[in-house]
Symmetry: C2
Subunit: 333 residues, 2 copies
């Protein structure tokens, strides 16, 4: 059987980590093209791939590739060549989901399977997007969109048909880190600056501190449980709506303030709010680099917890999707 043909759309931290994963292990995959928002590289020979790997390893932008063509797009490539799978890691707008929603439409039109790390497309348009890919019998892998590193999507799949009442979760590592710093005495401003400097936070920290990121994640989990709450309907109370002083006084009392995402299945509501939690609460114990998901159902709770991100781990989760996609493809042929 000949190798599968893939393209990468996005060459940021995740895209770079991903190309290292996909080349370094045996995946029966030929990478045909790599694209940033500015242009792309058509991989014609081994040397092109080697240079891509070098850029990825040295953390250098795609436009420095010797074969980089400005304004060369994946659409142009798709006109020339059949592609099996696209790995999407472009960060889109939380308001519109663009350019990713357009990218997904264009890929499905060209019968390209998708593996994505972008949560906004699904958070905004969960049902239509997945139905479109299902209807065309295309694979849409999105394990990396929620708590990349711990199998949150798989957890939901394993609970189909069960009477889940509520999901309560710490899904954003950045705000978790910021809160830890505030507990230790920093102001929000200082803590956010430090997080950006250490690359915990995005240059625009409101993605985290205004709850966009955890809201998109809880939105996707709501979709997994069969009642999608679109991103714009998820209530987001900003992180700093709780005062620094009360974060510190809670901490002194042995309690913790966490930025908690909730999906109330029965009430069909989702929200992201700072919460004061008891010390014994498993959510309170979530360290900066971890996520914790608590599923309330029947007479008890299921807990999933573990490390999420950074980019190298997100890339590994996309590879898990790729392995599932390959298994399905092999079955069909």
């Amino acid at each position: 059987m000949s190798n599968l043909k893939g393209i990468l759309i996005g060459f940021g931290n995740v895209g770079r980590a991903l190309i290292k994963e996909l080349v370094s292990t045996e995946h029966s995959l030929d990478i045909i093209g790599v694209f940033s928002s500015k242009g792309g590289v058509f991989v014609r020979e081994d040397e092109d791939l080697k240079t891509l790997l070098k850029l990825a390893t040295l953390d250098i932008k795609l436009k420095n590739h010797v074969s980089f063509k400005e304004n060369f797009t994946y659409q142009e490539l798709l006109e020339k060549q059949e592609i099996d799978v696209a790995f999407v890691s472009i960060p889109p707008s939380y308001r519109t989901g663009e350019p990713n929603l357009k990218i997904y439409r264009s890929l499905s039109k060209n019968n390209v399977n998708v593996i994505t790390a972008d949560k906004t497309g699904l958070a905004i348009n969960y049902n239509d997007l997945l139905e479109e890919y299902k209807r065309k019998d295309l694979f849409f892998g999105y394990r990396a969109t929620v708590a990349a590193g711990i199998p949150a999507i798989d957890l939901m799949r394993g609970l189909r048909g069960r009477q889940v009442e509520k999901i309560v979760a710490v899904l954003n590592a950045t705000t978790n880190y910021i809160l830890t710093l505030v507990e230790k005495g920093m102001s929000f401003e200082e803590a956010i600056k430090k997080s950006i400097k250490e690359k915990y936070a995005e240059p625009d920290p409101t993605v985290d501190t205004h709850g966009w990121d955890p809201a998109a994640k809880i939105s996707i989990l709501s979709g997994e449980l069969g009642t999608h709450i679109p991103l714009e309907k998820v209530e987001r109370i900003p992180l700093d709506s709780v005062s620094e002083e009360s974060i510190r006084s809670s901490f002194k009392e042995g309690k913790r303030v966490k930025y908690v995402a909730t999906f109330d299945v029965v009430g069909k509501k989702a929200f992201v709010r700072p919460h004061v939690l008891d010390a014994e609460d498993v959510l309170a114990k979530t360290v900066s680099t971890h996520n914790t998901i608590k599923v309330l159902l029947e007479d008890s709770e299921i807990i999933l917890s573990g490390p999420v991100g950074p980019a190298w781990r997100t890339a590994k989760v996309m590879v898990t999707d790729f392995i599932e996609y390959k298994a399905k493809t092999n079955k069909d042929t």
Copy 2:
């Protein structure tokens, strides 16, 4: 679309709970026959199903059904009628996996999809069994075989391609309960008697206390990670190899003895042994009715924990398999 046709093989606690689940909710399923080891009921009319439900609700054996025919087998039914799916909940021998391995072969020969709660078949013959069903494009659902209630199989599926080093888990609620009683001052003998009386333990308690049950479960998890350790190769140190006195003295020091199942992925070994655990260890905190699975990988741990069993929860997990099976079937037609 016409309803799917199903049979139940096994009418013990799980089979009874399952028939209540399958009838009470909207599943587009017609139950055509129900079988115990002694004979079966061919469901010809609504009245037959109502009587089955009554037996299930009152916890009465199948042979008391007015339409029960001694020695009537599912094979006989399969000769008369096409069946889509069989729900298997017969407890087999941990030594041979029979009669279930024969049942699975017979079902696959007749192109019947399977959803099972039996762990021994897979623990003994994981690769051959799943390959046979895959080759014939038949569904083989087995979520209920490991930690039924928390998505342990899904957890493993979500970790494909990741570098898992070790799985360390408390997978047997009965021995967990027995240890709690010994901590409180009972002898092993008294604790086991109490467990049998309260229906925590089987009449033959060695299934639990000699580690057969957790060994079968860790064996299946090893298969999920791509290196199946067959049941007979899983080392089993009996629960009472640790003295009652040392269980109590550990407890007094704030430690806990737990019956821990381990799969050492790197060393390709699996074993079940009593372990002294520190109080902070998440495994140490596993209460009687819960299971906890710790996955060691990369630089950290993933934890999955929650309530497992009894029969009604196991039945719900089989329904999750059925929902997945239906989704696949709908796609194909």
